[in-house]
Subunit: 427 residues, 2 copies
């Protein structure tokens, strides 16, 4: 039996400092629960001035390879983010026979498969609970607790920044740019919020969840991502009027043609559990053929929530070491399923357009949709001003390609001034 399990942390930013804090303040409780000593051996940080007076100087190095090659370190925690040098660090750590715990969504969503295979071949664990949903337990429940299910759909709010912005727009009628500025001043959005606002952060997360849910590797690059920049206060107002909330949704589902994985704003019925997830909170809604519907809700970001998930992973590795588990579960993507192009998906849609306000306009538009077999579920016409009418349509489920072709014709009608927005409807 090992007397002590050594931890090395690479990166002492928001998450790394949280991990260090939990591991040191809870050392005795964790050790007691695991019945073995857990100790931080070394912290690698490129900017060691960050650590000044915060951790003993002898625990600090600027060289990540000192952590990766340290003989007393059993578990390497990677919390620097990004693809490189994180990939090289983790690869080398696994090759050295170290267990690895990471919060790196970008890396796991692009090279997770090869790293999990490497971990398995070396008989070590590679855990990444913190990569999706911050402190919310979701990877482990989805991978293990729900193993008896054919997962039908995973639908989540997995980006706190955009959810904060959309909540402010809905609750206080703020325009998007103002809500975004407020998110930045509150520390909920980065100085450059592109990755959040354009849906790339959420795309990496849903790629990870889809890979687990469907046992087939989906990378971030394969995920269609559409951000929230085009959401106007008018759309939010119509959504409320029709009994919907607009949320940035990360969605993965499966049919006989392949997996449908995407990130985009969507109208969600107000009665859906995701509709009331507000501010920076995250939630992931999972549908399985046995369990039905389950939802996991909590803080999707932040130092201590993310650190909570990482320490949970560390705790599992410690138990595995203590119980002499031989090998690891590795990658669960034993199938190879097509990822559907966005043109091929089926969805319901909301569309808002500006038209000329005169008799017969609605008939002209409706005729085009009718000819193209795009079925209208409901129409609202109002806000007449200066000879213009605002028309809002909701369509029954239709293939996206068909809708786009029809919209091209609609846009060319002389009675149509502008198609203002098209938003998918999920629920």
């Amino acid at each position: 039996m090992k007397e002590q399990i050594g931890i090395g942390i690479i990166g002492f930013g928001t998450v790394g400092s949280g991990v260090y804090h939990i591991l040191t303040t809870k050392a005795s409780k964790l050790s007691q629960r695991a019945r073995t000593d857990i100790k931080v051996i070394l912290v690698a940080e490129k900017y060691p001035e960050l650590l000044k007076d915060r951790i003993p100087v002898e625990l600090v190095t600027t060289d990540a390879y000192e952590v990766i090659n340290h003989p007393d370190i059993d578990i390497v925690v990677e919390v620097i983010g990004g693809i490189e040098p994180a990939y090289s660090f983790i690869k080398k750590a696994l090759e050295n026979g170290k267990h690895v715990v990471t919060a790196n969504k970008a890396l796991m969503a692009s090279r997770g498969g090869s790293l999990l295979e490497l971990a398995e071949s070396k008989g070590v664990d590679l855990f990444f609970e913190a990569s999706v949903g911050g402190g919310i337990p979701i990877i482990r429940p989805l991978k293990y607790c729900l193993a008896g299910n054919a997962i039908q759909r995973v639908m989540g709010i997995v980006n706190g920044t955009t959810n904060y912005v959309l909540t402010k727009m809905a609750e206080e009628g703020m325009p998007l740019d103002k809500a975004l500025k407020e998110a930045q001043s509150q520390g909920f959005a980065e100085a450059d919020p592109t990755a959040d606002i354009e849906g790339h952060d959420a795309a990496a997360k849903i790629a990870i969840l889809a890979s687990i849910a469907f046992n087939s590797r989906v990378t971030a690059e394969q995920v269609y991502a559409e951000g929230i920049m085009d959401i106007a206060p008018e759309d939010i107002a119509y959504a409320l009027e029709m009994g919907y909330a607009i949320k940035l949704i990360a969605l993965a589902k499966e049919d006989e043609c392949g997996v449908d994985v995407r990130v985009h704003p969507a109208m969600i019925p107000a009665s859906h559990p995701l509709a009331s997830v507000s501010g920076v909170m995250n939630a992931i809604f999972v549908e399985g053929d046995a369990v039905g519907e389950v939802m996991f809700y909590g803080p999707g970001a932040g130092s201590l929530p993310a650190a909570s998930a990482i320490v949970g992973d560390i705790f599992e590795v410690v138990l595995n070491i203590k119980l002499k588990k031989m090998g690891s579960t590795g990658c669960s993507c034993f199938e190879h399923k097509e990822v559907k192009a966005i043109d091929e998906i089926d969805s319901r849609y909301y569309m808002r357009l500006d038209a000329v306000d005169r008799p017969g306009v609605l008939a002209k538009i409706a005729q085009v949709f009718g000819e193209d077999n795009v079925s209208i579920e409901s129409v609202i016409q109002k806000n007449t001003y200066g000879g213009c009418a605002e028309l809002v349509f909701v369509f029954y489920a239709v293939k996206e390609r068909n809708l786009r072709e029809s919209l091209k014709k609609i846009g060319q009608l002389d009675v149509v001034n502008k198609i203002c927005n098209v938003i998918r409807v999920e629920g």
Copy 2:
């Protein structure tokens, strides 16, 4: 490496038949994921006529010990419920070196500690995810994913029957007995609903969650349980008016004096995530010092949801067998904390009383509370009829013993006709 892992099921009722269904219809996928064959070897059922035409006759026995002693069975699934003979079956199975998966809340809440210790001493797993929250993953997330947290509070809606009744009362203004009859006719309540309605089912579940959350054994017998029978339509109406929902809450929290574990109806602010959990759905809200607030939501009962949890447990055992894990994690209750008596708890309270409708009555009542240091947060007086007034008080947090003593005096005032109801306020 074992070629095949054998499963034996004791009990072919609602849950057992669901487990059999999943294991047989998903055999190939589960075996592929676990990279080892998983096979049902034997099913024991006291009433074998239940199994007629549903499973091959050679898989059926009426003798549970045939399952427990079968050399090809590695994992025994106990789904008969109740204390005996389930306890004897599980004990013998563990002694035989079998891993055990159970959904038995009553047993785990009364003798879980000794069974977990026995499992550990035999180096086998004893999993019980299905014992709380049906299909909702909660035991494993709480025990492992949130291991880095000092858990501050667990608060859940863990009984679908009572939540259905309370939802019907709130949404349709039904009286309790009518709502309960409807629950029975819908199959959401048993012919004898006592264990649900009086809170004993929820008490067993919160005993299990409290034991995990606070690393200290809490048994069902130690949990204060108060049912929903006294909830009147008037209470529901006042709750709505004041911005609350009434839910049967199972709660566990900790302070320096011990753990406070109880089941009772409670007023929950309408904005709290638990307030919108309706019908037969369950949800468990967990507060940890690192993660903040997380919530797990889903179906708390039913054949396939419960079977989903059991098959998740089986899947973990299979991985552990495959990876030659030596030993088990056993019981995590390494501390011994006092369970507080209900008199010793601190809570906010709602009280509804009938008083004589004449000047000075409110002053008289308020004076008694003032002398007893029971602080009034808000008062509503209305519904005057036939010389009577209905008074509703909400009190700031106070020790329950102090409130009860004060209420005794209030009940003896000549201006008070009756104390109609007292409901704790949580949030």
